[in-house]
């Protein structure tokens, strides 16, 4: 890539230029020189590790077919499916909750409004480990929910160390991003559109279905894609809750550190990356707006 930039003259600049502005003669070279640091960093910290990862995935006893056989392993396939289901569920629930809350917050001003928005966006500041810790405080063995259900005589309800706990944690930390996106989009809704629909006899529900949701669609798709991608790859919360939780990042971790099955770990990593990237790409093409990947 950097070599290409050095060899080829820039298409819009004639090679032989009358020396009207002498300083411009060596411009392609200078541009290439300026680009070089970025290109080096890009190659060293992005391209090389990625290529290496792909090669390691194919470096096991099975060779390139490892990418297929990894998924044939029932444990891995199971892990992939449950991760996909978890992420899809988290995305849908987060979108539903955030759309309602975001619209409400944009349309209603009340004392404490700013404080509430600040509180709702607070989880943005937490790493996954802290989220996991909070889920344990809520639904763990000594958690609030368990204590309450026990006091009510319904037995101790504990679900922190399972998919349900992970689901709760992911929804909790996905809500801020989605709510902020929804609020930004809802601010831009033209109130006249709703008034026009109402003047034509539309009930509140019809206005939501026919006017508000279509207008929010691009924002919802892009926020949903981010939410999905984040849930697919998140690790800290799962790791905090239980090492047995069967999601793909945990499986990769287990293969890598406990089984020392580095080739399988690499192959699964590449698959995880591909699936997440594909989800973002589909969302981008449907929404027609830029959807950035998140870590």
């Amino acid at each position: 890539m950097s070599a290409c930039a050095q060899d080829a003259p820039l298409p819009h600049r004639p090679a032989a230029r009358p020396p009207v502005r002498p300083g411009w003669a060596g411009e392609p070279l200078r541009l290439a020189a300026l680009l070089a640091p970025a290109a080096v960093v890009f190659a060293a910290f992005f391209l090389l590790p990625l290529v290496r990862l792909i090669l390691i995935g194919a470096g096991g006893t099975a060779g390139w077919s490892a990418y297929l056989t990894t998924l044939a392993d029932p444990g891995h396939l199971d892990s992939l499916i449950s991760t996909l289901a978890l992420s899809a569920g988290v995305t849908l629930v987060t979108l539903a909750v955030s759309t309602v809350a975001g619209l409400f917050l944009v349309r209603n001003r009340f004392p404490g409004h700013a404080l509430l928005v600040a509180l709702l966006t607070f989880p943005l500041a937490f790493p996954g480990v802290v989220i996991g810790f909070m889920v344990i405080m809520l639904a763990g063995r000594q958690g609030l929910i368990g204590t309450i259900t026990q006091a009510l005589g319904a037995g101790k309800l504990v679900f922190a160390y399972s998919m349900a706990g992970l689901f709760l944690g992911y929804v909790y930390f996905s809500i801020p991003r989605v709510i902020l996106t929804v609020m930004a989009a809802a601010e831009k809704l033209d109130p006249r559109l709703e008034e026009a629909a109402r003047s034509l006899g539309a009930s509140s529900w019809r206005v939501v279905a026919d006017v508000i949701l279509p207008a929010l669609k691009p924002a919802l798709i892009s926020a949903g894609a981010l939410c999905f991608a984040t849930s697919m790859g998140a690790f800290g919360t799962a790791f905090t809750l239980a090492t047995r939780i069967n999601v793909l990042p945990m499986t990769i971790y287990t293969e890598f550190t406990l089984q020392a099955n580095i080739a399988a770990a690499a192959a699964l990593s590449v698959l995880l990356g591909l699936i997440t990237w594909a989800a973002l790409a589909v969302a981008r093409s449907v929404a027609g707006t830029s959807v950035a990947a998140a870590g």
């Binding site: 033209d190 006249r192 008034e195 003047s199 006899g201 539309a202």
Partner: protein, 354 residues
Amino acid sequence: MPDSVMQNSFHLDAVPIRLERCGKTFAGGARALEPLDLTIRGGETIVFLGPSGCGKTTTLRIIAGLESPDPGGRVLFGEEDVTALPIERRNVGMVFQSYALFPNMTVAENVAYGLKVRKIARADRGRRVEEMLDLMHLGEFAGRRIDQLSGGQRQRVALARALVVRPRVLLLDEPLTALDAKLRDSLRLEIDRLLRGLGITAVYVTHDQGEAMALGDRIVVMAKGRVAQVGTPREIYYQPADGFVADFIGTMNRLGGMARGGTLSIGSATLPWSGPEGAVELLVRPEDLALAGEADGHLGGTVAAAVFLGDRTRLVVEPADGPALTVDAAGRSELGRGDRVWLRVDPARVLAVP
């Protein structure tokens, strides 16, 4: 223009509207509208005219059901009290300055929306949409997306969408303001023809006096939340109720005069007079001041500016004392800055404010 279609199948009921003590105070105590009583006759086109913040849009929104009047106010459509009904149950048609067309629907889907909400059968819906699109010369655009239309086309779609459900009243909020001058004129003519043809009661809000004069059967001039005058365009223009109306509608000159014993002194001239006595302020339209010779002129002055407008030349004349006067001369007039002119005043066309 299928006038016959408009006359026969598209004549709408002419519902009178009555506003009784409709005031509006917004949260925070700002008074947007002083209590207002007004009767709009069935089939009448009434124009609310005034500068921004005068309460005209608030009044429209109270009629629409988008705002409710302060307690004690009532809105009646015919004999029915609709004060408590929200807009979706009032059966009104609305047209907005920003068009407010649904961007996720085609032209035909936009027009069909009100019928769909009313659960009109698909076949009937299709027939009525087609009829409406033809009426508005939009037939060829039925399948277009909204962003493929010009401003004038969009506003025609908005009109079609509002009218296809046969509303009891059509409410238009500055519908031409977003258009450029030429389109504005042609769409204004189209709206005028449409409103006359449909026989629907229409309420039209604008800050543009030209639109108000052209479209209104009656004009309600508003200022600072109050009605300044209600009248036909001619009444508003020739017999303004006060200085505000006089200045807001068209151009008005102000002349100082002294009336005594059946004569009026303006400048060096004395005219026969039957108006109020004493020192009076006279309001005169530019077209009612005529250029004259030194012998028969009443007022002398110097041309300070001459603007050629094609059909006429608008002169600003500075008399020896008093404020500058605006006078219309013939388009071909050669008068220019610095020329000395004489003006004649027709006392019958002068309005006196004591």
